[in-house]
């Protein structure tokens, strides 16, 4: 990258800088005219100069110039206006000039701002682009948060500076020079004094600022290190808690903040010191003028008028000087920041742009064998991971890489994936060096999965299909405002040197997954998920999620059919007792009282959980139904029983997990509440206290809690209240709840709840598992299995995929590698988080899936257990970075070598 900020800015914004300079010069004309005008107004119409006689007129807008040779030329004789009319006309001209000046200022500021923002966009993009091209080894040394902070924060001030980069010095320098010249013309000696002081300012101040620059650099580095550490704490929070090192982290952060404070404080001290000196120098000049100029005037060597003019002119000098010096400070500040960032982003061995160039068309298969030619790889400490290895993997061959603890199989797999670059030797595909092949070839025709999985914070689907998003394949038709917006996007992208690739285009390369479009792709997805034994997990996720009804229309459409099928099946198997269905006119004993009252799914916060009892409308319905007193009594009973049972237990006792009414922390509050409310008539209890007590009754399920609080009469009343609630539902609550309707899909409830449309009996310990199995069965029968899988694929995997288990993440990574149907499939101990039995199963499935439809990719698999090698055509054994054995499983077994040893 260009090391000098000024040159960088000049290269990219030359034309714009010149244009804005021109505009600024142009804007000077109305600016100076507006200076002159007040004088004209005051002297002319107000003081009456030229209007001495009543009825006198003066020409307005008379244009005449005294041209050389030709003499006085009159272009326009002007309008003859009276005194008041002239005042009005001149005032209007003043107003016009004010508007013109304002518009110029607006245009200039907008233009400068846009220029700066464009440059900022360009720099940021260039930085991220470089991150994408860094060699792998670089990433072992940087913290991600530091890179992020450089891209985001450290270049930010550049945007503000760029617009002023060339404009400000020209403009202010011009102003200062004019004032200086004026003073010099008035009196050479006084001019010399001013000149000397200015020279001192120019020489001294930047010298003092050198320390400021050093401090500024330190400030930037320490702040960057701080954000790196904060990022590390967030990423490693588990380790912090496990080892009780949170106070060590506190100490470290406090020490860093202390250092940052010291640097910043130093910085301020110097800054204000410099400012003080600067101001002092600026003020000392008038002092010298008064003293020396005054002396000269008294001595009669200087005209008093001249002295006054010089002092007047000097007023215009410190302003621009000060701003110029400020500009210089900004420049240095920004230059330091820029250099710092550029240094960090200047890396040797950057990946050439052509390697990552966009290629829309299919690059064609890799038919050449993949060979390592006397390949050596060392780790960061210099230890040899691989020592002059030569081997060849032919297309279609399946190879197991078996390794002792210090073997090097993993390094080889990483080298094949280009994640670890050779220190000497190379990897070639046919005649081409692998590192010279475009990623468009290796990234599509080879795939790689390892135990170290990275997932993006997106849905399961996005992560799974991530490996297919190589190039924008469709052009999205935009219409109306969207089309304008898109044109603007493209134009702006070009102006900032950004690519105009449309992120909304369909990037998914269906063909490489063996599909023709989104629908066919789903089949492929399902097969790879089955292969890695992940489908069931995703179905479970799907059952527990809310379905997006925009996307999963089928599920909503056929919900009635589904529910009916489940009932029939349960009856057939004699299991109808397991689920108690929701019926609009009946009380569901297996559901809570709250659920029976609301008889719907809360879709906002207004009626959810604890807010329900406190909702004024809901409370009024309870009152009308005559339920409030009863439920209050019930709540009191529950509170008493609960406190009697749990009051003596320590708050961390595991019995609290069984308590649905209140949390361990709430018990003391309820204890005092109970003391206060006991023996008080219901009418005398405040609304808030009533809600506190009534809410307890909402969690009650008779068969589960067995307090004997539910009577038939109460159940009937609750069902009646339910209907009342919906009859007069106020408009603001219309969207807060979705009523259970046997014929409707409830968007605010999970898929499982929708299919069940009831509650699983609490007294059957194995009911949930049995019902889930039946639900899967039915979904499959009705052809909705795919739909459910699709719902599961909407699951958000969380930051770094942390909402999935380690095993699920690894399976997903393998599925992603398989989905591409590559020519070379490189797997680097990909399933280490799974137990051996599961690894074997997935291994078998993957080998089969990879070869489906006569596809015959080469598979290189660094195995975690030598026994897994049995499934491969060829076995290569590594020990201490050396290739020690190479052959079929049988021959190696016969050799009695290291492989046999490893197996035993």
């Amino acid at each position: 990258m260009e090391p000098s900020l000024a040159r960088y800015i000049w290269t990219h914004t030359r034309k714009q800088q010149l244009w804005i300079l021109m505009i600024v010069v142009l804007s000077m004309i109305p600016y100076f005219m507006s200076f002159d005008l007040p004088k004209l107004i005051v002297n002319g119409p107000i003081q009456g100069k030229g209007f001495e006689q009543p009825g006198a007129t003066q020409p307005f807008m008379r244009l005449h110039y005294d041209l050389p040779f030709i003499g006085d030329v009159l272009f326009f004789s002007g309008f003859q206006l009276g005194r008041k009319a002239t005042l009005l006309a001149l005032s209007l001209v003043f107003l016009l000039l004010v508007v013109i000046n304002g518009l110029f200022k607006l245009y200039i500021n907008t233009y400068k701002g846009r220029l700066g923002e464009r440059m900022l966009r360009r720099i940021r993009f260039e930085l991220v682009d470089r991150v994408l091209r860094f060699p792998p080894v670089y990433f072992k040394r940087v913290k991600s948060a530091e890179v992020a902070t450089m891209v985001k924060d450290e270049v930010e001030p550049l945007g503000g500076f760029i617009g002023d980069a060339f404009l400000q010095p020209v403009l202010l320098g011009g102003q200062a020079l004019t004032a200086m010249l004026f003073i010099l013309v008035q009196n050479v000696w006084l001019g010399m004094i001013a000149f000397v002081i200015v020279v001192i300012q120019i020489v001294l101040i930047p010298r003092m600022r050198r320390r400021l620059i050093v401090l500024g650099r330190q400030r930037q580095l320490t702040a960057r290190a701080l954000s790196g550490r904060v990022g590390e704490i967030v990423d490693g929070i588990g380790a912090v808690h496990v080892h009780d090192t949170s106070n060590y982290e506190r100490a470290d952060i406090a020490a860093r903040l202390g250092l940052i404070f010291k640097i910043r404080f130093d910085l301020y001290q110097w800054k204000f010191m410099v400012k003080f000196l600067n101001n002092f120098l600026a003020q000392i000049t008038p002092f010298l003028f008064y003293m020396i100029g005054g002396y000269l005037a008294i001595a009669g060597r200087l005209n008093v008028g001249q002295l006054v003019a010089v002092i007047g002119a000097y007023k215009d000098l410190p302003g621009p000087m000060k701003e110029l010096i400020d500009w210089d400070q900004d420049r240095q500040d920004v230059q330091v920041k820029y250099q710092q960032v550029v240094e960090q982003f200047t890396v040797e061995d950057l990946i050439a742009p052509r390697i990552g160039a966009l290629m829309v068309d299919d690059p064609g298969p890799m038919t050449n064998p993949l060979s390592a030619v006397s390949l050596s790889i060392a780790d960061d400490g210099g230890a040899m991971l691989l020592d002059r290895i030569s081997l060849q993997v032919k297309p279609g061959e399946t190879v197991a890489l078996v390794s002792t603890a210090t073997g090097g199989a993993e390094a080889l797999a990483e080298a094949f994936a280009r994640l670890n670059w050779p220190d000497s030797g190379r990897i070639v595909s046919g005649a081409d060096d692998l590192l010279e092949l475009p990623e468009a070839v290796t990234g599509r025709r080879m795939s790689y999965a390892s135990s170290d999985v990275f997932l993006f914070h997106a849905s399961l689907r996005d992560n799974l299909l991530y490996g297919l998003k190589h190039a924008p394949l469709t052009s999205v038709p935009y219409e109306g405002a969207a089309a304008d917006q898109q044109r603007w996007n493209i134009a702006e992208a070009h102006r900032s040197g950004n690519p105009d690739l449309d992120v909304h285009s369909d990037w998914i390369d269906y063909a490489s997954a063996g599909a023709t479009g989104p629908h066919g792709l789903f089949e492929a997805v399902r097969r790879v998920l089955d292969a890695v034994v992940l489908s069931r997990d995703i179905l479970d996720l799907g059952l527990r999620s809310l379905a997006d009804l925009q996307r999963h229309t089928e599920l909503a459409k056929r919900i009635v059919e589904l529910r009916a099928a489940l009932r029939t099946r349960l009856e057939q198997e004699g299991l109808s007792g397991l689920v108690v269905p929701f019926e609009p006119g009946a009380y569901n004993k297996e559901a809570t009282i709250g659920q029976n009252l609301l008889f719907g799914a809360a879709s906002g916060l207004a009626l959810a959980d604890k807010a329900l009892a406190a909702n004024p409308y809901f409370a009024s319905v309870l009152k009308q139904a005559g339920l409030d007193g009863t439920l209050y009594g019930m709540g009191m009973e529950i509170a008493e029983q609960t406190i009697e049972l749990f009051a003596d237990l320590p708050p961390d006792h595991q019995f609290f997990q069984q308590l649905a009414f209140m949390s361990a922390e709430e018990i003391p509050a309820y204890e005092t509440l109970l003391q206060r409310l006991k023996n008080r008539p219901y009418e005398a209890v405040s609304e808030a206290d009533r809600a506190m007590i009534i809410t307890l009754s909402f969690a009650y399920i008779e068969p589960l809690h067995r307090f004997g609080l539910l009577s038939d009469e109460l159940m009937n009343k609750i069902v009646a209240a339910r209907n009342q609630f919906y009859e007069n539902l106020p408009p603001e609550l219309q969207n807060a709840v979705e009523r259970y309707d046997p014929a409707k899909y409830i968007a605010a409830a999970t898929v499982m709840d929708n299919v069940l449309f009831g509650r699983v009996g609490n007294n059957h310990p194995d009911a949930p598992d049995r019902i889930r199995a039946i639900v899967y069965d039915i979904l499959d029968e009705l052809g909705l299995y795919a739909e459910l899988l699709d719902v599961g694929l909407d699951f958000d995997v969380g930051a770094g995929g942390r909402r999935l288990t380690g095993g699920q993440r690894q399976k997903l990574d393998v599925a992603r590698a398989l989905l591409k149907r590559p020519d070379f499939l490189i797997l680097n101990r990909p399933l280490s988080a799974l137990d051996q039995r599961m690894q074997d199963k997935v291994l078998r499935n993957v080998l089969e899936e990879a070869r489906r439809d006569d596809h015959s990719p080469a598979i290189v698999w660094a195995v975690t257990n030598p026994a897994m090698a049995m499934m491969f055509d060829r076995v290569i054994v590594f020990d201490s970075g050396q290739l020690v054995e190479d052959g079929t499983h049988e021959t190696l077994l016969a050799e009695n070598g290291i492989f046999k040893e490893l197996l035993s």
């Binding site: 049972l645 006792h653 595991q654 019995f655 069984q658 809690h705 067995r706 007294n763 059957h764 310990p765």
Partner: protein
């Protein structure tokens, strides 16, 4: 059956007879009430032991696998407790328990059970007494079996 009735039932189980009713109520509340129909399995021989069961109503058979299929070795009547051995020894179930009739039981989870034993020595002593009693019976049976040979 309500919580207070269950407490009455638990009091009749010898193991719990020494525990004050308030604590039994807590035990009942934190246990799951489970229903089985005739023929359903409570747990299988070889499964990991995760809970003990107190039979509230109905009967259950204790079955042990043998070469010629399962053999019924005992019958469980209301107020008896079953499955506590596997909890205590961290071992797998030594027998299968199958409901012989419609069965209602209280399922006490392993961690709850162990916590109770820690908190109530009288219960632990009772437990030891029952186990010792069983051991002496088993020893007597063994001697009978040996001498009959």
């Amino acid at each position: 059956m309500l919580l207070k009735d269950e407490v009455g039932m638990l009091q009749r189980v010898p193991l719990f007879s020494g525990i004050e009713p308030a604590k039994l109520k807590l035990l009942a509340f934190t246990s799951d009430r489970v229903n089985y129909s005739a023929g359903q399995i409570l747990f299988r021989q070889g499964d990991e032991g995760d809970a003990a069961y107190v039979i509230l109503s109905g009967k259950a058979d204790i079955l042990v696998d043998s070469d010629s299929g399962p053999i019924k070795v005992a019958e469980l009547l209301p107020n008896s407790i079953v499955g506590e051995i596997a909890i205590l020894c961290n071992s797998s179930r030594t027998a299968t328990v199958r409901a012989a009739t419609q069965l209602e039981a209280l399922r006490i989870r392993k961690d709850h059970f162990l916590r109770l034993m820690k908190e109530f020595p009288e219960m632990t002593i009772e437990m030891v007494r029952v186990l010792a009693d069983r051991l002496s019976h088993t020893t007597a049976d063994l001697i009978d079996a040996r001498s009959a040979k």
